[in-house]
Amino acid sequence: MASSSSSSKTGLKKMLTLKSSDGDEFELEESIVIQCQTIKHMVEDGFSLIPLQNVDTKTLTKIIEYMKKHAEKTESNKEEIKNFNKEFVKGSFDDQFELVSAANYLHINGLMDLLCQSIADRINNKSVRAVREIFNISNDYTPDEEEKVRDEHKWAHEGGEFDESLD
């Protein structure tokens, strides 16, 4: 579709094309896409085809889903958006890291906050061992060193049971 940049003044909805790193193109209304600061600036500079080299098709699809939903945000559907957000962050950590990097690159602040909160929630109260498992981190301390580091901040390890589960 060849909508030109001047068409917005004629009342037609201005369309933009986003291109993922895999080469897939997505056509969206400008009003939806400008939630993303990076694209907004490119639109202001007159671009209508926007290549996103750092975002693959899978991630871009998710992000478009998010932007579409949030473009509908009004006073009355707060609850609906909330439920959408809750569903949106259900996924593997792998996907979430992919998303958070993309959201950071695209400067979608709302999505950034949502994802950071979600990742934090999932680390919260986890045992150190569980965190290592989940994020594929190898422990490079010797047992003595680990004991020493634990001692340095004893206060942080006090109180309560920590969650050992890996979800």
């Binding site: 950590f93 792998d94 890291f97 992919e98 958070v100 990097s101 950071n104 950034m112 950071c116 909160q117 990742i119 934090a120 680390i123 919260n124 109260n125 150190v128 965190v131 290592r132 989940i134 994020f135 594929n136 981190i137 190898s138 422990n139 490079d140 301390y141 680990e146 580091v149 634990r150 340095e152 901040h153 206060w155 942080a156 390890h157």
Partner: protein
């Protein structure tokens, strides 16, 4: 590995650019090399995939306790978790009782000042936080209107001595506030007679009301001593040093309740200064303190102390911070020169004379509650307790 390299570099470069006028660039490169030594073999696991800023953002959401716990995960996590900017954030965003200890935001905001030579470990706000989580803090007294240079020196002092001495935490509190606490008050006006100047500081619930305005009069202890010195020279009284003059000021001088009446009295009195002998003074005894009220006696164009206090009270009244106006009617004197006998009574009399009855009613001027050590006692009080409520 390259991602981690980039992260470290970002962190180091933002750190050094945030205080660009310091001479830290050479040091931060050393520090950078040290980091690289061990980080080359390390990985943050899946977190390698996200920028450091986001990692820090997630830690901020996790909160101090969880973040500190995560330093045990692996070496590179410990390095990231120990980031001073993160802990400054935690220290500044307390919602519990620590608020009431007026944490030294101005000092903390500027962050670690510069990297010290290797012998001195870098200041870790993380350990400050940890220690502060367990024990009440120690206190540093900051002079009321100290200029930037003095603040710089204070910071250096904090670095070079206190943290080496394992002081658990440092809290910079306005000296005037401490003097008020020593008088067991949390609201009132503190008249702090400093070395160079006198400040009149309105304080409500332990916070300096900068919006009301702090009055500063350019007369301090130095001027008083200088004036007495001049008077003694005029009378050809010989003295060894300015310390002698100061000793005489501290022991013979006072403030007259009625200056004119005092002039006609016989006010001769003597004092023995060790290794200098006896000195006898007369009208200089009360003229010295009088320059606080009548600066022109000393040839200065400045506002009298009573005028400044009355002005401050008017500002307090106009600010309408409280439904009840009585908070500013307690005036507490602070500073060595405030110990001059008769000063509190005279100030009370003069201020009441300047203000309309509705405002002057109930004004009380208290002498320094603990003499020259008032601020110290105030500091001791908040060193041990949380101050949440007006007693």
């Amino acid at each position: 590995m390259s991602t981690l390299f980039r992260k470290v570099w970002e962190s180091v470069s933002t750190r050094s650019s945030s205080h660009s006028n310091s001479n830290s660039s050479a040091n931060s490169i050393d520090q950078f090399e040290q980091m690289m030594m061990y980080i080359q073999t390390a990985s943050t696991g899946e977190f390698d995939r996200i920028p450091l800023d986001i990692f820090i953002q997630i830690l901020k959401i996790l909160g101090p306790k969880e973040s500190a716990k995560m330093s045990v995960v692996c070496k590179s996590w410990k390095f990231i978790v120990s980031d001073n900017r993160l802990w400054i954030h935690f220290l500044q965003n307390q919602h519990d009782a620590w608020d009431s200890t007026f944490f030294a935001e101005t000092h903390l905001r500027s962050g670690p000042l510069r990297t010290f030579p290797n012998s001195v470990p870098d200041l870790s706000f993380m350990s400050i936080y940890g220690q502060r989580a367990q024990v009440p803090g120690a206190i540093i007294i900051d002079d009321t209107e100290s200029d930037k240079a003095a603040r710089g020196q204070l910071k250096d002092a904090i670095h070079s001595t206190l943290f080496d001495m394992n002081v658990p935490a440092v809290c910079a509190v306005n000296q005037a506030v401490l003097a008020l606490f020593a008088a067991k008050k949390v609201s009132g006006i503190v008249v702090n007679i400093g070395f160079h100047q006198t400040s009149i500081v309105p304080i409500l619930h332990g916070k300096v009301m900068h919006q009301v305005g702090v009055e500063v009069v350019g007369i301090g202890a130095l001027k008083l001593t200088g004036f007495l010195k001049e008077k003694m020279q005029q009378k050809n009284i010989y003295f060894g040093s300015l310390y002698t003059v100061r000793a005489l000021k501290e022991n013979l001088c006072y403030v007259a309740l009625d200056y004119e009446a005092e002039l006609s009295k016989d006010t001769n009195a003597s004092f023995q200064v060790v290794s200098e002998g006896w000195f006898t003074l007369s009208e200089e005894r009360f003229k010295t303190g009088e320059i606080l009220f009548q600066p022109r006696i000393a040839g200065m164009r400045a506002m009298g102390l009573h005028n400044a206090v009355a002005l401050c009270m008017e500002h307090c009244q106009d600010a309408e911070l409280m439904a009840d106006d009585s908070w500013y009617k307690t005036v507490v004197l602070a500073g060595g020169s405030a110990c001059l006998p008769g000063l509190a009574e005279r100030l009370e009399k003069e201020v009441c004379g300047l203000l309309p009855p509705c405002m002057s009613n109930g004004i009380r001027v208290l002498p320094p509650p603990r003499g020259v050590d008032s601020a110290w006692f105030g500091a001791k009080l908040i060193g041990n307790v949380d101050i949440d409520a007006d007693p």
